[in-house]
Symmetry: C2
Subunit: 302 residues, 2 copies
Amino acid sequence: MRILVTGASGFVGRHAAAELVRMDAEVHVVTRNGASAFGICHHIDLLERDCAKLLLKAVRPDIVLHLAWCVAHGKFWTDPANLDWTGTTLALARAAADVGVRRFIGVGTCYEYDWPKTDDCKEFETPLARHTLYDTAKTSCRGLLEAYLEATSTAFVWARLFYLYGPGEDQRRLVANIARALAAGEDANCTLGTATRDYMHVRDAGAALAKTAVGTVRGVVNIGSGVGVRVAEIATILGQIARRPDLVHLGALPDRTDEPPRIVANVDRLRFEVGFQTKFDIVSGLGTTFEYWKRCATHAAN
Amino acid sequence: MRILVTGASGFVGRHAAAELVRMDAEVHVVTRNGASAFGICHHIDLLERDCAKLLLKAVRPDIVLHLAWCVAHGKFWTDPANLDWTGTTLALARAAADVGVRRFIGVGTCYEYDWPKTDDCKEFETPLARHTLYDTAKTSCRGLLEAYLEATSTAFVWARLFYLYGPGEDQRRLVANIARALAAGEDANCTLGTATRDYMHVRDAGAALAKTAVGTVRGVVNIGSGVGVRVAEIATILGQIARRPDLVHLGALPDRTDEPPRIVANVDRLRFEVGFQTKFDIVSGLGTTFEYWKRCATHAAN
């Protein structure tokens, strides 16, 4: 089985590619800027014209797992590059269908949903809504790929990622930010953190994507833990793991007024149709994350 | 006022460009394959990489009226080129915003609506639905352009075309097909034709697009006549104009089972916000169409 993974040097892409290598797949990865990743590397820029077409012709994979997108922290919500990645994703899917790829897995986001106030997000029941340019682009891609690929012999899968965390995350993001501060013995200033989110360990997310890619499931699949956790709990648990609960200051930062109260995945499809089980719960997952930042702090000190 | 019109050699694009020239605008047109159009011609292929960007930098128009799309009769509903045109449209809009274009007018379709059984389609009230790859691509473009352009200084307009007819139409399409047959003295075999549609004369449609483009209206605007007419009436009127009602055979062709009963535009925005009035009613419009085919038949006979 030959599989092409785009965005394979990214936060979750690295773990997806590694898991596919573990499964004995022939893994081809696309990375930019010479970044390394597990598998046979193709150092190309997918945004270049005809790049997708030539790559697909050269590799002729059975499966495409397309993770590449603009992901610059803070910027990606409104980045005009969302338009470019939409075009590139459509070109990639066309090229995939043209060379007879069996499965095309695109990656969406929990931001596509119109989040229910008290319920979990379900793939075929929860209505969708537009929040930002990012999720609008993802929703557009999904609709177009679905309509296009159903007339081809290429099966379409749309993996909707929820919240991720784990070693290697951008330190400006919530979990990494708190874990880094605590590992360095610094104050961790937080909001009240009453919002409930579905946080999945990045290694679980990578493995879930890999299993979804090589399986038989079609259509939209939520990639999440299925467990809601309050942001305050994350900070509190990290304080306990670090044995410095005194450094955690809930309420030190103002809450955002427009935060949806709950974003949690219903993971019935992932569990029962893909057959995936998470390895980490929030406590063990935050444990590996804290250890990572502790090592970084030690390295920096030496 | 400088305006760039893409697809300016097309069925409706020709009339839009001509009307803009009449308005004393400096009209730049994009055409492929050396086709002619009114205005300063740029013979380029927008699907080529960086073409949109370079063109916009070269022309620096105040307004972009983007009509180009894949329109091959019968094929365009499912044409994979819909994906390419989506990408090109997004690139064009990005390039337009980057050079400070004041208004960007994209063109949609009545197929974006979930047609009400008895009511007209209203821009902000009628729900949308996916029917084909074509309307899915158009809907995706609209959503993305709306989300993207609202963060720029470029105003966004989305002109939804309903049914068009008139001189020069592809003769495989309904009105042209009947008019051509009658002009040639041949039998015109029709369905029972009970479905109601909004047919707008192509010259009116071109003028409506031109007026919408140079105006101040923003967001979605239906481009239609606002008048529903049964397909059977069109055939009957053409039979009367041709003075050969005996050649019109309603019910000679089987009706499609999946035809929506009614697709008619609510044109309040076009009438009161754009300030546009149609010049043709269905009888005078079909008159010009029949004359066109009569001339074609005479030419062919000579």
